[in-house]
């Protein structure tokens, strides 16, 4: 069952940018693409735990600021020849407000 948590107004996240959510246990990066899709994933690159929230967003991927790994925002998978994966969380936008489901990935 989904468990949606309200996070932030969509307009508070810059287009092609991100915000960081701190929970009690971890940091989560919430990204907004140029066409207003919203994605959320654990704020750790599978390579050396770089903060993905600080990377450059392009299309539906983000480039890690530490060593330029490219991570797919939808799946959390590293793109190109690199291999690795970061936890992703379901998101939805309703009436300009971003919600995130923390339970789903925690269980997965």
């Amino acid at each position: 069952m989904s468990d949606w948590t309200e996070v932030v107004a969509l307009e508070e996240i810059p287009q092609l940018g991100s915000r960081v959510i701190k929970t009690d246990t971890m940091s989560i990066a919430v990204f907004r693409t140029a066409d207003d899709q919203v994605f959320a994933m654990k704020d750790e690159c599978p390579h050396k735990q770089g903060p993905l929230s600080q990377g450059i967003v392009h299309g539906t991927s983000v480039t890690c600021p530490l060593h330029n790994w490219k991570i797919d925002l939808a799946s959390g998978e590293a793109l190109g020849p690199d291999e690795g994966c970061t936890n992703v969380f379901p998101t939805k936008v309703e009436n300009g407000v971003v919600f995130i489901d923390l339970k789903v990935s925690a269980a997965a």
């Binding site: 948590t5 810059p14 287009q15 960081v20 959510i21 009690d24 600080q54 299309g59 330029n68």
Partner: protein, 817 residues
């Protein structure tokens, strides 16, 4: 309605064209693929790397190692693959292709990539068992088997392919004699001295040669047992490999009535005289030229793919090629017109004892050709200078000694990269060995530096090993490697180069990133982490007063105005003009460190104080305190003007001349806040003892009794490069004006992420002198433009953020969970 695309020839050129095609978004409006693709190949294998057959023959690699596209690849891309069934007829009326087994494949577009056939000399006995060419996996299998059963091999042809075949057979344990019609080996690639060195080196390994020998007949019953020559002499042979050349395979096209000369004649978009039929590869004749090397084929494949994908208007305009011999342990490089004509100048270096020979042919100070033996480290560099037709006048005295910034960080002077052991570390940043790189190249079928970077990470951090990696790449893939393409795209998002973008922004008054992407037909909607910061910078540099900096197109350091550290914290470096600091300021810094629990401080190489381990959310508050104490951002995090380093100066130093420290402060006041293509450092020394190390800075001033020496293009980082002397001036006002003009010239023209050192080497000191010294009007205009851009740039980003700008950047959201 899906169109049918049929490819005849399952080889490197044709399949590369398909790969290029898939790079485009080849779907129609309904979202289905543009083409239904069928590939017809006569060999029973998927596409493999034909140029790696020599290492396979030599036992250094296996067939599996050289497969470029696995069967799964064809499946994943919904390609119907027909192997072991040659196409026998093209019906242009029915628009279909018929194969040997009688299958028929209709097409809307046809791509012919039938490659070439080895030329078999038409002498009596050439059809005997044990006589073959060296062209495909089957030939290699036959040779490897023959090596087990027989002893003596004769290779006819002392060219590239013949010598590689001979070397492979020797490695397989055969006694090999190379027969050559002329008096020197590889006459298409080498001049006589290099050819002689090569021959001696191969003889040392046990290869035998019969020079100026014209083959008359192959003797034997069913199987060959000897080769007879025109002069009547004979040599025993159990195996004869003919490697005297290749002929474009045009039979099929010719039968179909497609215009052919030596090869299938194509136009600049790789179309034959029948416009729905394209052709690429060795079977093609373009502007009178047929190519037998792989780099041009890839260029052709790209053009054909663009055309098939109905995008862009790229044209193929011919290729310049270079050659490397893939015989392990022999370093040989050749490119262009290596035999001088009247009026050409020759630079030559020969060291017989170390077996090194280098020769460059120059015409009006432009490289026309190069031959190298023994030390080919700089081959790729010479080749790119040749392709770009660079004027080498500024460094012709040293050019034979190689490139300044190549392979000297931890690599010593070991230039013979192929003689390094496999465990030699090439990339010191990422710990990548030569063996890792060679393996990645052959296993994954890599051809470009970018691909090697992506797969191995070698040369992807500081870049100091780029030359070595290129050299390994060139040696491993041989002629397949294309050194520094004449027009290098910024990244995979576009075919346009940095210069194209810079020019378009200027000439067409493009004033936003979307405008640039639209005008230059970018392939991705919002670029990538490589091109967007570059385009953002170019716009900012060109339209300082109109363009609004796009924060989402900046690397995190420039967005957060601090240097991101590996644990995600930031470091903070306040500016201290000219390196001068007052007690109150130091006290303020100490207070800030206490207040924010700064775990470590250190003094930087640029005479500033660095505070480490700052949490991002603390940055604005910390900046407020620093700002209140009078500090502005030190830009130690940015592609920007960093610091002006100074020495003790005349006030205290007994050797000092001029007011060097004061000049340092003035220079920093002039230049701080300016964004650049890369970091930019200055220094002022008070005397020629040069304690501020001004001669390894981007712009350095050395004060002397009679005035000021101005130095440019130095680099103390990855590759040390000593500055070039720009000129000497008499007054401080002139120093400031020349500095502003030089800085602006760099800001307007260099490529993003190109420091002044490689920029000065690329455009030449002469060019910079022409603009800044000889043309007073231009100098003053440049300095004026710099001042205009500085008016906007010199707003302290720390103060602005302390006052609340871009607050979202620094404020995390907290939720329970």
């Amino acid at each position: 309605m899906k169109q049918k695309l049929v490819l005849i020839g399952n080889g490197m050129a044709g399949v590369r064209a398909l790969e290029e095609l898939f790079k485009h978004n080849t779907t129609d409006d309904s979202g289905s693929d543009l083409y239904d693709i069928t590939v017809i190949g006569s060999e029973p294998h998927p596409n493999y790397n034909r140029i790696m057959l020599s290492p396979v023959l030599a036992g250094e690699q296996t067939i599996d190692d050289i497969i470029l596209n696995s069967l799964e690849w064809y499946e994943e891309n919904n390609i119907t693959l027909i192997t072991g069934d040659a196409a026998t007829e093209i019906s242009r009326v029915k628009k279909s292709v018929v194969t040997e087994s009688g299958k028929e494949f209709p097409y809307d577009r046809l791509l012919i990539a039938t490659g070439s056939n080895p030329f078999i000399i038409p002498v009596p006995g050439a059809d005997k068992e044990g006589v073959l060419g060296f062209r495909d996996i089957h030939d290699v299998d036959v040779m490897v088997q023959a090596a087990k059963d027989y002893k003596k091999a004769v290779v006819i042809g002392g060219g590239l392919l013949g010598l590689e075949a001979a070397n492979g057979l020797m490695k397989q344990g055969m006694d090999v004699t190379v027969v050559h019609l002329l008096d020197s080996l590889m006459e298409h690639q080498l001049d006589k001295p290099a050819s002689a060195l090569l021959k001696a080196s191969l003889e040392e390994r046990g290869m035998k040669f019969l020079m100026e020998a014209s083959t008359a007949e192959i003797l034997g019953d069913e199987r060959v047992n000897a080769v007879k020559f025109a002069d009547g002499s004979e040599v025993d042979a159990d195996l004869v490999v003919m490697a005297v050349g290749i002929r474009p395979n045009i039979e099929l096209a010719q039968k179909a009535g497609i215009h052919c000369e030596r090869g299938i004649v194509v136009n600049d978009t790789m179309q034959t005289f029948d416009p729905v039929i394209y052709s690429v590869g060795e079977c093609v004749q373009h502007r009178g030229e047929c190519y037998g090397l792989v780099a041009p084929l890839f260029e052709q494949a790209k053009v054909a793919a663009n055309h098939l994908a109905q995008v862009g208007s790229t044209r193929y305009i011919g290729s310049m090629t270079s050659t490397k011999l893939k015989v392990t342990g022999i370093d040989l490089f050749s490119a262009g017109e290596f035999n001088e004509e009247e009026g050409d100048e020759v630079l030559q270096m020969q060291d017989v004892a170390s077996g090194v020979y280098k020769k460059l042919v120059l015409r009006d100070n432009v490289i026309k050709g190069a031959v190298m033996f023994g030390d080919t480290m700089d081959g790729t560099w010479y080749f790119s200078l040749m392709r770009d037709a660079s004027n080498i006048a500024d460094f012709r005295k040293t050019i034979l000694f190689g490139q300044h910034d190549l392979g000297d960080a931890g690599h010593g002077d070991d230039t013979r990269v192929m003689s390094l052991p496999d465990d030699a570390e090439i990339c010191g940043c990422n710990g990548v060995t030569k063996g890792d790189i060679v393996q990645a190249i052959s296993k994954n079928g890599l051809f470009t530096l970018e691909e090697v970077r992506a797969h191995t990470k070698a040369s992807s951090s500081c870049g100091s090993c780029t030359g070595l990696v290129e050299s390994i790449l060139a040696s491993t893939v041989g002629e397949g490697y294309e050194a520094a393409p004449s027009k290098k795209p910024i990244c995979g998002c576009t075919d346009h180069s940095h210069d194209d973008v810079i020019d378009a922004i200027k000439d067409h008054k493009l004033k936003s990133i979307p405008a640039v992407y639209e005008f230059l037909e970018w392939k991705t909607p919002d670029g990538c982490a490589a091109c967007r910061p570059a385009v953002n910078y170019y716009l900012l540099a060109r339209w300082p007063e109109e363009y609004k900096d796009d924060l989402q197109s900046r690397f995190i350091n420039e967005r957060a105005h601090g240097n991101i550290q590996k644990d995600g914290t930031y470091s903070v470096v306040p500016r201290m003009f000219g390196g001068l600091v007052k007690p109150d300021e130091l006290r303020a810094i100490a207070d800030v460190c206490d207040k924010f629990n700064v775990p470590e401080m250190k003094v930087t190489g640029g005479q500033r104080i660095d505070m480490f381990g700052i949490k991002k959310e603390d940055l604005p508050a910390m900046w407020k305190d620093l700002s209140d104490a009078g500090f502005v951002s030190g830009h130690a995090y940015g592609k920007a003007m960093r610091t002006v380093k100074t020495c003790a100066g005349k006030t205290w130093c007994r050797f000092g001349t001029q007011n060097s420290t004061g000049l340092g402060v003035k220079l920093e006041e002039l230049t701080w806040g300016s964004y650049m293509q890369h970091k930019f450092k200055l220094a002022v020394s008070g005397c020629p003892r040069n304690c501020a190390e001004a001669t390894i800075k981007d712009f350095g001033v050395v004060c002397v009794d009679s005035g000021y020496e101005l130095h440019i293009g130095g680099n103390g980082g990855i590759k040390v490069r000593v500055t070039d002397l720009l000129c000497k001036v008499d007054t401080e006002e002139e120093v400031l004006e020349y500095c502003a003009a030089f800085t602006q010239k760099y800001r307007e023209e260099a490529h993003y992420l190109e420091r002044t050192a490689p920029w000065v080497e690329r455009v030449g000191l002469t060019y910079i002198k022409e603009c800044i010294l000889d043309d007073e009007k231009e100098r003053k205009a440049l300095a004026e433009r710099f001042k205009i851009s500085q008016k906007i740039a010199q707003v302290d980003p720390w103060k602005a953020r302390a006052e609340g700008e871009a607050a979202h950047e620094f404020t995390p959201l907290k939720i329970a969970g």
